[in-house]
Structure formats: C-alpha cells, structure tokens
C-alpha cells in the first residue's frame, strides 16, 4: 500500500516510474568530493588556476579569501553549475558529469547565494521542495517529519505559512537552509550562508554545519568571516588570485603573514584568552 502510494507520487512528482535505490552512506573520512587541477579563465583573466581540493565526510571545509579570489567560481564548479576549462571534479570517485541530476540530488545539496522564488510559495512549501529527490526512493523517511525537524533546526517553524517573497533577507536564508537540510544528503555545499544573518543565526548555522559533520556528513562552506571559519571549520582553504594559498586546519593556516599578504591588509592574530581559537583582527 505504502509502496503503491510512493509509486503514484513518483509519477505525479515527475521522477517517473524509475525507482531509485537509496544512496549508501560512506564512512567518515572518505573523500566524497574531489577537485583536481581546476582551471577557469574568462577571456584573458584567469579566475582559477590549478586548484585541487579533497572534501572528506566528517569535516567542515571553509573556503575563504578576499573578494574576487575565485571562491564563487570554485564553488560553482564544485556544484556543476559551471564547467572548468581544465581539471575535473569527482563525486564519490565518479566524474560529476556522469551523475544524473536525480542521483546527485540524493547525495549532495547546495545552498545558493541568491534566493529568489518566482511565485509566492508558503515557506513550508519551499522547505518541502527539499524532499523532491526522495519521491522516487523506496525507504525514504517521512517527508513531513523531516521538514518539521529541518524547520525547527533553523528556527523557521513560526514562518511556515508566510509567503516566501514577503520574508526578510535573513528569514529567507534560514528557510532555504532548512530546505537544504531537508534534502538529507551526505554532502552539503553552502555558499555564504551567513551573509544575511545576525550573530545569533550565524552561530546557529555553523553549529548546524558542525553537527552535520559530527554525524559523518561533508560540509563545504564559503565564508567571509575569518573568525567564524577559525571557530567552526576543520579545514580551511584560503584562496588568493585563483590559487589555493594555504590549506589545512585553521590554527595552522591562519598566520598574520599569510592573511596580510592574501588580503593586502595588515592583520594580527590573537589567541582567544578562554578558548584559544585564533582571532583575526585587522590592524587599526
């Protein structure tokens, strides 16, 4: 009966009759997303040059760097939104292009930087869209329950019946994050998820990222705030002029010299008196 219902729903939801088996979760520490020698040029300007990255399950990887360093380009290549001129991206060892959108959507979720919704959907409907890839999967969890949890995690439960276009920037960002969480993928790519948020919600977003990593997911997050990256990321990739200037745990990577060079601005690093987390401060 339940199976019949799912089949009917799969037809109506547009994924057709083809059943998809649920994706297997890979153990923590596995490289799930890898980039090798990525290069990208617009005309004569090289935006990315020989960038290689390994994204492992159980880790939060932060991409940081000054404006125009290539963070967005790198992320759009990692998501498959644009194709590199050189190099290759693999997901679970398979080239990105070999995955069908439906298969990929069960394994990897993307939070875009801009969120416009063309029609006035209720916020809860937008979050439910995150469940779309699971419509064709047999042993999927209960959609309503997953959505309720995701909305609770990003504190948007009270916005459920509000029209998405009428929400504030920060509310939209959190509803979209709930949508990404509801997708229940092992790989999550977040493009500047904290940009529109106040301190409380910035912290809560990165705490969610940490929790996902602790449960064995891989999280890639583009950040502007170096303090957030230092506090929450396991690995940091510092991009500068299309290259990776440094790659490793924040405590090793964040040195005054490197960051001053990369940002072309004098910064100093202070250890937090209580937690010992490196604090990056511009010299004023």
């Amino acid at each position: 009966m339940n199976r019949l219902r799912r089949t009917l729903r799969a037809i109506v939801h547009g994924s057709g009759l083809r059943r998809i088996s649920p994706p297997e979760r890979v153990p923590a520490g596995t490289v799930v997303l890898a980039a090798r020698g990525l290069g990208r040029s617009y005309g004569s300007r090289t935006v990315l040059d020989d960038v290689s990255i390994d994204v492992r399950t159980g880790e939060v990887l932060a991409l940081v760097g000054p404006n125009g360093a290539g963070k967005s380009t790198l992320l759009s290549i990692l998501t498959g939104d644009s194709t590199p001129d050189r190099g290759e991206v693999t997901v679970l060892g398979r080239p990105l292009a070999d995955w069908s959108p439906a298969e990929l959507a069960l394994r990897r979720a993307v939070l875009p930087q801009n969120f416009a919704v063309s029609f006035p959907f209720d916020a809860v409907d937008v979050v439910h869209m995150g469940r779309a890839p699971w419509a064709a999967v047999d042993e999927a969890e209960d959609d309503d329950r997953v959505v309720v949890e995701a909305m609770a995690a990003t504190e948007v439960t009270a916005l459920a019946d509000r029209k998405f276009p009428s929400l504030s920037g920060g509310e939209k960002a959190r509803v979209m994050l709930a949508r990404v969480l509801a997708q229940q993928t092992q790989v999550v790519l977040l493009d500047e998820p904290t940009a529109a948020l106040d301190i409380r919600h910035q912290e809560s977003v990165l705490r969610i990222a940490r929790e996902r990593a602790a449960r064995g997911d891989a999280v890639v997050v583009v950040l502007h705030d170096l303090a957030l990256a230092a506090a929450y990321a396991d690995q940091v990739a510092v991009l500068s002029e299309g290259r990776i200037a440094a790659y490793g745990p924040p405590a090793e990577v964040f040195t005054a010299k490197l960051l001053s060079d990369v940002y072309s601005y004098e910064v100093e690093i202070v250890s937090h008196p209580r937690t010992g987390v490196p604090l990056v401060l511009p010299v004023r």
Partner: protein, 371 residues
C-alpha cells in the same frame, strides 16, 4: 470589551502533538485546492448548459441537460422536437465544447509558460506566440496554399507558433530567468514583426480571404463544428495528460534553474518537453479559434490568488477555469449585441486588459514590484 481582553491575553497556540504547524498549513492549502477544483468543475457544467440554451432559439437548461443525457445514451426523458435537437447538437454543442477546449488549452499553456519563464506575466498573447501562430495561418490563407486541405492552415499555425515560442524563449532569458522587461520587450518586438507580416498578407488579399484573416485576428468560435472539435481535442488532451508529469518539477523550477537541478530536475530536458507542449496547446488554440488574449494570463493568476502557486492544483484548475471563462465569454459574445455577434477575442481583451492592469497594480502595491 471582553473580546479584546481575551485577545490580549491569548498566548500563541502551541502546535498540537503530531500535527505540526507546517503540515497543517499544507493541508489547508490542499483543501482549498480541492474545493476550488470542485467549484470550477461545477461552474463549468452549469455555464456550459446555460450557454447551450441561450440564443436566438432559447432552450431551457433542463431540456438541454435532457438532450445531453439522451445523446450520451443515459436516458434523459422524452425526446425534444427535432428542431431543438438540431440546434443543440449541430450548432450550440460543438461551439460550447470547442470553447471549453480552446479555453482550457490557453489557460494551461499560460500556467505552464509562467512556470518555465519563472515569470507571472508570461502569456501566449502577451509575448507574441499567438500572433506568431496567426502569421502562419494568415500567410497560408493569403497565398491560398492547400496542400493538406483544411489542415494546411492548422499545420501552418502550429509550425509558426512553435517557431515563435522557441524564438521568444531563447531571446528573453538570461541566467535562467526571463526578466519582466526583457520578456515584455521581446513580446513587443515579436508582435510588431508578426503584425507587419499579417498586415502585408491582409493588404494583398482578396475580399474572401480578408474576412477569413480578420476572423483569425479577432478570434471567434462562430465556425465551430464537430470535426474541428475532433481535430482540436487530441492536442488539448495530450497537454492535459502531460500536465501532472510536470507539476512538481515546475514548483522546483520556481527556485531557479540551478537549485532545481540540484534537486534532481533535468532542467534542460524538461524545458524542451514543456516548450513543445506549450507550443502545441497555444498553436492548436489559435488554429481553431484565432487570437484570444488574456485567458492564459488571467485564469492562472486568479487560481494562484485562491489556491496558491503550487502547480499540482494550478495546472488542473487552470484547465477548468480556462474552459469556464471561455464558454462564458463566448456566451457573452453571442448575446451582448444580439442578433449581431461580437468577436470573442474582443470580449476577452476588453475584460482581460483592465483586469490585467488591476492585477499589475495590486501586485505592485503589495510586493513593491515584480522582481
């Protein structure tokens, strides 16, 4: 007094156990959708019966119903006099049925088009697809080509409608979305070129062709016959049958092209398939009834206002609503200046134009623009 105090002291109701906020919201939306579909279906039946009864030779609604039931072999009581049956079955019924088919096609095409353009203003008439289809038809009429008999005109309308749809779609999108301004300007450009082609065909035409061409441009169902109904039905039926396959994916497309892809939608393939469906619906509507504007715009808009933007209700409700609106408009076209007939396209434009403006104004006031 008591009321006010009550309200002031009432704490926000905590979500009941097992019935979280979000699911309740969605259930309420789904209920509204179901009610809307039922109301529209009932409204369509009543309007169709009324439309079949009204005219120079009036037939009471119950007799119309009886005649329909008898025709379908479902009883329906005593036979009417032969003249009544003749009027109903040879003149009124094909016209009402064709109106319903054309209205359903246009509204469904409008709803789908708004979905893939990600823009609530997209409509076959506004963006020039209707006039593009008309160009094909008019050129064939003017040149007197008849390689496929009566179907030549329809095939030509279909082909040029298809070409125009693809053209507009390619020209007006950037970054996966059609901006309002680009879309409307593309529509103006396409309509201008189509208008020039139609104009020159008109200019060089003889009287008989001229009347035929004018009929196309103003839109009319006066020439409805069962054979046209039979010819138009497969296109509408195919479009309606395709709709459920696209509903959820159109919802996802509202997030934008990349987000939809990241949710498992093969955007490119879906878009190509939908373009064909839309071109087919629009072109067949134009082929059998000429240019009838605003149905594809106003109907989906009204449905969204009542039942929200979810395509699982929007698409079927647009089918029913479009049929209802066009059957009613055609009734108006017949009785407004009886015994003369007003062209149907003029009725829909006269009512639809101001309505469109009101929608624009309302939406702009509420959302601060279309962006």
């Amino acid at each position: 007094m008591t009321l006010r105090t009550d309200r002031e002291h009432r704490a926000p109701a905590p979500p009941a156990e097992g019935a979280p906020d979000g699911s309740r919201v969605r259930r309420a939306t789904a209920l509204r959708g179901t009610v809307l579909l039922l109301v529209l279906a009932a409204g369509l039946v009543v309007t169709a019966l009324a439309a079949a009864g009204v005219g120079a030779y009036p037939v009471p609604p119950l007799e119309v119903l009886g005649s329909v039931l008898r025709g379908l072999g479902l009883g329906g009581g005593e036979a009417l006099d032969p003249l009544t049956d003749e009027v109903l079955w040879n003149v009124r019924f094909p016209r009402v049925v064709l109106a319903a088919i054309v209205g359903a096609s246009l509204a469904l095409a409008g709803a789908m088009m708004q979905g893939i353009f990600g823009n609530p203003l997209a409509e076959p008439g506004v963006i020039g697809v209707s006039s593009g289809a008309t160009v094909g038809a008019v050129l064939v009429i003017a040149l007197g080509a008849s390689a496929l008999g009566y179907w030549t005109v329809i095939a030509a309308a279909f082909a040029s409608g298809m070409i125009t749809t693809v053209l507009v779609y390619t020209l007006s999108r950037s970054g996966g979305r059609a901006e309002v301004v680009t879309l409307l300007l593309t529509g103006i450009a396409v309509n201008a070129v189509a208008g020039a082609l139609i104009g020159s065909a008109t200019y060089f035409s003889e009287d008989a062709e001229l009347r035929s061409i004018t009929n196309w441009q103003m839109g009319s169902l006066a020439a409805a016959t069962w054979s046209k109904v039979v010819a138009a039905l497969p296109f509408a039926a195919a479009g309606i049958a395709a709709a459920p396959f696209f509903a959820r994916r159109l919802d996802l497309l509202a997030l934008g092209e990349s987000p939809a892809r990241h949710l498992g939608v093969d955007v490119e393939r879906m878009r190509q398939a939908l373009i064909v469906v839309i071109a087919m619906l629009t072109s067949s509507a134009v082929a059998f009834a000429g240019i009838i504007s605003f149905v594809g715009l106003v109907v989906p808009h009204m449905v969204r206002m009542v039942a929200g933007p979810g395509h699982r209700v929007l698409l079927p409700a647009s089918v029913l609503g479009g049929a209802l609106v066009l059957v009613a408009a055609d009734l108006l076209a017949r009785v407004a200046a009886a015994p003369q007939e007003v062209p149907l396209g003029i009725i829909t434009a006269l009512i639809g134009g101001p309505f469109f403006f009101w929608l624009l104004y309302r939406t702009r006031a509420r959302q601060g623009g279309w962006a």
